[in-house]
């Protein structure tokens, strides 16, 4: 199941050219870019790992793309996202974030019902990927597993 999170989530994966132009747009707005990665695909997981520090004072997307290439080389089987932070007073939030790398296999989620007191039903999202321990959740597509 293809994970959809952040801006452009319902579009096909962006090409490098498109990523670069989005980054350039963010830089022109004065939003520093940071690169984050995770192997926990749960939609409520907001704690992604930072890949290096946020890139302040960068003027050109090529610099971010080099960093992204490094992140992809180090974490080819993790989700990687680009986040642009708007630091203006009154905003101070992520202005733009989108996934730029995803693992070869995305096992997806199942919904679990739990019956609680008074026959109330609760729902929870269970990610198949997290059945494996951290670091073993995704295998490269070439291995043919999963």
């Amino acid at each position: 199941m293809r994970l959809t999170q952040g801006t452009f989530s319902y579009l096909a994966d962006l090409t490098d050219e498109q990523i670069s132009r989005q980054i350039q747009y963010a830089l022109e707005q004065g939003w520093p870019i940071s690169i984050e990665y995770t192997d926990d695909p749960h939609p409520r997981n907001v704690y992604w790992e930072m890949f290096g520090l946020p890139m302040f004072d960068v003027r050109d997307a090529a610099a971010v793309m080099q960093e992204l290439a490094k992140a992809r080389a180090e974490h080819p089987n993790d989700y990687i996202k680009i986040a642009a932070y708007d630091a203006r007073l009154g905003r101070q939030t992520t202005a733009l974030s989108f996934i730029v790398n995803r693992p070869g296999n995305e096992p997806g989620f199942r919904v679990e019902r739990t019956v609680r007191a008074d026959r109330q039903i609760g729902y929870q999202l269970h990610s198949y990927a997290t059945e494996q321990p951290h670091g073993e959740r995704y295998v490269p597509r070439s291995n043919g597993k999963a």
Binding site: M55, V58, R59, D60, A62, A63, V64, Q66, E67
Partner: protein, 336 residues
């Protein structure tokens, strides 16, 4: 980068002289590509129009107006600009064009305008499309070299990231290389720089700046570096007359003016100051003017009462004469 208009007119024989100049210049590329042979269509390229379109002349003019003297530097910058423009035209008609080597070294004493020229150079390169953003990042050894193992590479890369798409000016570059200390991390910074200068030529242009003699020994001990730096530009010291003109320009920009007596006093000041050590050309002149403004303010306050706008604007002879440079003349042994 350049959006060529439709090539409808490109096949036509060249029109007389300058009439359809811009269309001819930019429409030529597709024609050449179609024919396979680079010069088959034999289009006429209007150099003047290309020059105008690039707006490089405007920046060169700015350089001329803003910087006094520096004739050899201006000539070199103009030559480089011309080379880059011709190279662009060549590639637009499909002639082989190796991207010209752009990394430079600016050598000269302090205060001779190296940073200002670097700033203009960045603009020129940007207008001609050789760098994408055209900003200037100034770095010194402190910004590039770390203090412990593993500190240097991230630091240097951080600066390189900031400079990507623009021009990186490394001031006093020879401090990067300290042969007397084998545990110095400067060499690591140089290696990373070399890599980037070679592999990311589209991304940024590096300018090394510093004193001439020390830069020469720096390049001599780093042959890899000197072979990648194509343009060496030497900035001469200013003459006394040029320094005076600079002072006038600075004052005009600040809305100050010399009284006639002060002007002669300042000319004398410059002559004396030139003979003293640690003279930093335009920077020393600016400092001298700053101190003169200070003395003027003190003088006006001591005088008290009312002042006219004219008095606020004018620097008096006494504001100049109080300088310690004149004092040194009267008792030479006291100060060197």
């Amino acid at each position: 980068m350049s959006d060529a208009p439709p090539a409808s007119a490109s096949g036509a024989p060249p029109a007389s002289a300058s009439g359809a100049a811009p269309a001819t210049a930019s429409g030529a590329a597709p024609a050449a590509a179609q024919n396979g042979s680079p010069v088959a269509a034999d289009p006429v390229l209007d150099l003047d129009a290309a020059y105008r379109d690039s707006q490089v002349g405007e920046i060169l003019g700015k350089l001329d107006r803003e910087l006094v003297g520096l004739a050899p530097v201006k000539t070199r910058i103009r030559e480089i600009a011309h080379l880059l423009l011709i190279d662009k035209l060549r590639s637009s008609v499909g002639l082989a064009s190796e991207p010209p080597p752009l990394h430079m070294s600016f050598t000269g004493p302090p205060g001779t305008g190296k940073t200002t020229v670097a700033m203009r150079m960045a603009e020129i390169l940007h207008r001609l499309g050789y760098v994408r953003r055209g900003h200037l990042v100034v770095a010194t050894r402190d910004d590039l070299v770390g203090q412990y193992i593993g500190h240097t590479a991230p630091k240097t890369k951080e600066v390189l990231k900031k400079a990507t798409g623009g021009v990186l000016l490394i001031d006093e570059a020879y401090y990067l290389y300290k042969p007397e200390n084998e545990r110095d991390y400067g060499g690591e910074a140089i290696e990373i720089l070399l890599q980037v200068m070679e592999n990311q030529r589209d991304d940024l242009v590096v300018i090394f700046a510093g004193y001439k003699d020390r830069m020469e020994s720096f390049f001599a001990s780093n042959p890899g570096l000197s072979s990648r730096v194509a343009n060496h530009i030497d900035f001469p010291d200013y003459t006394a007359d040029e320094l005076l003109a600079i002072a006038q320009l600075m004052l005009a920009r600040l809305n100050y003016a010399f009284s006639p007596a002060a002007a002669t006093a300042f000319a004398e000041y410059v002559r004396l100051r030139l003979q003293q050590p640690q003279f930093a050309n335009a920077r020393s002149i600016r400092n001298a003017l700053d101190r003169a403004r200070l003395r003027q303010a003190t003088r006006l306050f001591e005088h008290g009462g009312t002042v006219t706008p004219h008095q606020l604007e004018e620097l008096d002879e006494s504001d100049i004469r109080k300088s310690r440079v004149f004092a040194a003349k009267e008792r030479p042994p006291a100060e060197s």
